[in-house]
């Protein structure tokens, strides 16, 4: 126990590696496995054929049974490794199987067929990436359009969110005015209400505005996030007032102070909100499902879930398209990783 505590509390300098350093790396190594492993698993699985996906024990890499062309047979035949009665193993192609008996043929000597007990054969497998999981849905469905829609929603919504949230946050952090407490209470009170529980009323509002089946129906309702206002306001409170007073002395307009002084100084908090907004919008499913039904306005998440029917799920397509939707997020993350760290550290909000 004390060993662990030492590991976790001691701050050792650089130099020789102490055993606690090794233990730290071991802990972090385990984290790498646990955190990346499942995602890697998803990516590899997305290249499996529908049959291979359901296999047990599952293979890590996408494998399929090898097939060979044998003279005299029009179709390629599946290849098996067969344990013969004398104990030797041979690679045979299967012509057909009836009940527990398989009729097999040696690809090198296609003349004679051999009868083999079905449980004496093991499929010969080879690695094969089922790229068709990707190409087929991309060809059959308008995934490019879905991607455009998702991008449009994500970018425009994030821009609107940043502008109106930062304006509100600016008002709530820099000024003293009548009704400020009420406004703050409104923000805080709605901070934690999940959209799921007001879905029907919001749908009514959007319908009355005539926005159904327009991307604006997805963009507008979530634009004024209480979380964003709160996060930005908390950050803006830390901006020194002298700067603002000095600007007022210089006859800068209030808009100029907001746009040219407060906004640049709030960059880390804005970066955090950007990331979160992108994440929320990109991954949003339930709400778009309710308001977007026409295929030309559907987003990626809806397109993705169209592979889930009433009774069947087309897993191979679903997994492949999941990987496709993950990729942009991963790229954004790779670019903005550093900002997330500093931004969150300074605001402590999600």
């Amino acid at each position: 126990m004390t060993g662990i505590l030492r590991l976790l509390t001691a701050r050792r300098g650089a130099g020789r590696l102490h055993w606690t350093d090794w233990a730290t790396y071991a802990y972090l190594g385990l984290a790498v496995l646990l955190m990346f492993g499942p995602v890697l698993w998803l990516v590899l699985s997305s290249f499996k054929t529908p049959a291979a996906l359901l296999e047990f024990p599952p293979s890590f890499l996408p494998m399929t049974q090898k097939e060979v062309r044998v003279e005299g047979y029009p179709q390629p035949l599946p290849l098996f490794s067969v344990t013969m009665e004398d104990g030797s193993t041979r690679e045979l192609a299967q012509v057909r199987r009836v009940g527990l008996i398989a009729q097999m043929v040696d690809p090198k000597a296609p003349g004679t067929t051999v009868r083999v007990a079905a449980d004496k054969r093991q499929p010969v497998r080879e690695m094969a990436f089922a790229v068709s999981n990707y190409t087929e849905p991309l060809a059959k469905y308008d995934f490019l359009r879905f991607l455009e829609n998702s991008l449009f929603v994500t970018l425009i919504a994030t821009a609107i969110t940043l502008v109106i949230n930062s304006m509100a946050a600016y008002a709530l952090s820099i000024y003293e005015f009548k009704g400020k407490t009420l406004a703050m209470l409104a923000v805080i009170g709605t901070l934690m209400i999940p959209i799921t529980i007001v879905l029907v009323p919001v749908y009514l509002v959007v319908t009355e505005m005539g926005l159904v089946n327009s991307l604006w129906a997805v963009i507008l309702p979530g634009a004024a996030t209480p979380t964003g206002v709160f996060l930005l306001r908390q950050y803006m409170l830390t901006i020194p007032r002298d700067l603002i007073e000095a600007a007022r002395m210089d006859k800068a307009s209030e808009w100029r102070i907001y746009a040219r002084i407060v906004m640049p100084l709030s960059a880390p908090a804005l970066a955090v909100l950007t990331i979160f907004s992108i994440m929320w919008r990109w991954n949003d499913f339930l709400w778009p499902l309710a308001v977007l039904t026409k295929s030309e306005v559907q987003t990626l998440q809806i397109g993705l879930n169209a592979f889930q029917g009433e009774l069947q799920t087309q897993w191979h397509y679903l997994l492949a398209m999941t990987v496709v939707t993950l990729t942009p997020v991963a790229i954004v993350f790779a670019f903005l990783q550093r900002f997330i760290a500093t931004g969150i550290a300074n605001t402590g909000m999600k």
């Binding site: 505590l5 976790l8 509390t9 701050r11 650089a14 350093d21 972090l28 984290a31 646990l34 955190m35 990346f36 499942p38 995602v39 698993w41 998803l42 047990f56 940043l162 109106i164 005015f177 406004a183 709605t190 934690m192 999940p194 799921t196 529980i197 007001v198 029907v200 919001v202 509002v205 507008l220 309702p221 979530g222 004024a224 206002v229 830390t238 100029r256 746009a259 040219r260 906004m263 640049p264 100084l265 960059a267 880390p268 970066a271 994440m279 499913f285 998440q301 997020v329 991963a330 993350f333 670019f335 990783q337 900002f339 997330i340 500093t342 969150i344 550290a345 300074n346 402590g348 999600k350």
Partner: protein, 339 residues
């Protein structure tokens, strides 16, 4: 609630420059009208102008719906438009609150609601303990002078970006009878475990997957707190030969308390809202062992053939009230800390 740090030099990079340019464009467009408004209204009325756009959105898409929900909750039937729904008074609330004993959901008329409440409470407690523990461990490990800290930080944070549905799908795939984990268990000579048939396992994995998905975020908050602790305190302790346990309990944890509090409260509120992650993972089962309160509301309003907006609205009003109190409590606690 903020970990207040003075604004530092702006980080440079793609996002900053993009934001800058975007900002400049907006500034140029909006400058003249705002200048005019300021001339007419005066500086003192400007905050209202700045608040206005956000307030309009808020009113339309947050407060108006909450109001409609209140109307739903006192009306019945299946009509969508409030004007077509018959007034039933507090009937929906009475139906929800009709219980033999509040400690035993099976004595309630609407037992699913109370099972949801009980499960959400259980989930919240486990989730808070596990989340704080593991993100604290991770933050302490990341706070050491290790190689590749940025990389490891990214490792913890990466799952935060995944959508809840994707997270749950991945883990469901791994945990099912013929999944990766059972393949590992059987290859070690064990029996396959049916994780989603046992209520305890189902709850365990619900908590585990939530921690997996979100701990990166809380780790960063705690890491920020750790890095704000002045180094010389540790150096002094080391010179005094203070034992590691005392260093942790007497120095690190007390100084980290504000951040821990933020984490605790955020986890609390997120736990109460949990829905799609757990729903996709366990389907709320076995039985109703992981059916959460938001799932109940969603099912009542949508998934049931009779879409009972009234009952769902009543449940959401009750949930909203609880969340409001929790949020105020959080604010009160953090205010006191700041004082």
């Amino acid at each position: 609630m903020t970990l207040i740090a003075p604004p530092r030099a702006r980080p440079r990079g793609p996002s900053a420059s993009l934001l800058d340019r975007f900002g400049h464009a907006v500034v140029r467009v909006f400058e003249p009208p705002f200048r005019a408004l300021q001339r007419i209204l005066g500086v003192r009325r400007m905050p209202y102008v700045f608040l206005l756009p956000n307030a309009v959105f808020f009113g339309l898409f947050v407060f108006l719906p909450i109001g409609i929900n209140l109307v739903y909750s006192v009306t019945g039937g299946t009509a969508l438009f409030p004007s077509q729904r018959p007034y039933v008074g507090p009937e929906q609330y009475a139906y929800l609150l009709d219980c033999g004993s509040y400690l035993d959901p099976s004595t309630c008329r609407e037992d699913h609601f109370w099972r949801g409440v009980a499960n959400t409470l259980k989930f919240t407690v486990f989730q808070m303990v596990a989340m704080v523990l593991f993100s604290l461990l991770a933050a302490l490990a990341l706070n050491r002078p290790i190689r590749g800290r940025g990389f490891f930080r990214a490792v913890f944070f990466f799952p935060v970006l995944l959508s809840p549905v994707v997270v749950a799908l991945i883990w469901k795939w791994i945990l099912q009878r013929d999944g990766l984990l059972n393949a590992a268990v059987t290859s070690l000579g064990g029996q396959k475990i049916l994780f989603f048939v046992d209520p305890s396992w189902a709850m365990f994995w619900s908590v585990f997957v939530s921690v997996w998905a979100h701990m990166g975020f809380y780790t960063l908050i705690l890491l920020a707190g750790l890095q704000a602790i002045p180094r010389d305190i540790y150096e002094a302790a080391e010179m005094d030969g203070t034992r590691p346990w005392r260093v942790l309990t007497r120095i690190t944890l007390p100084l980290l308390w504000p951040n821990l509090l933020v984490v605790l409260v955020l986890v609390l509120i997120r736990s109460v809202q949990v829905f799609d992650e757990v729903f996709v993972l366990t389907g709320g089962g076995p039985g109703t062992a992981t059916q959460m309160i938001v799932q109940y509301i969603y099912t009542t309003a949508f998934a049931n053939q009779v879409q009972n907006f009234g009952l769902a609205a009543a449940a959401s009003v009750l949930l909203g009230a609880v969340l409001f109190v929790l949020t105020l409590l959080q604010l009160f606690l953090t205010r006191r800390r700041a004082a």
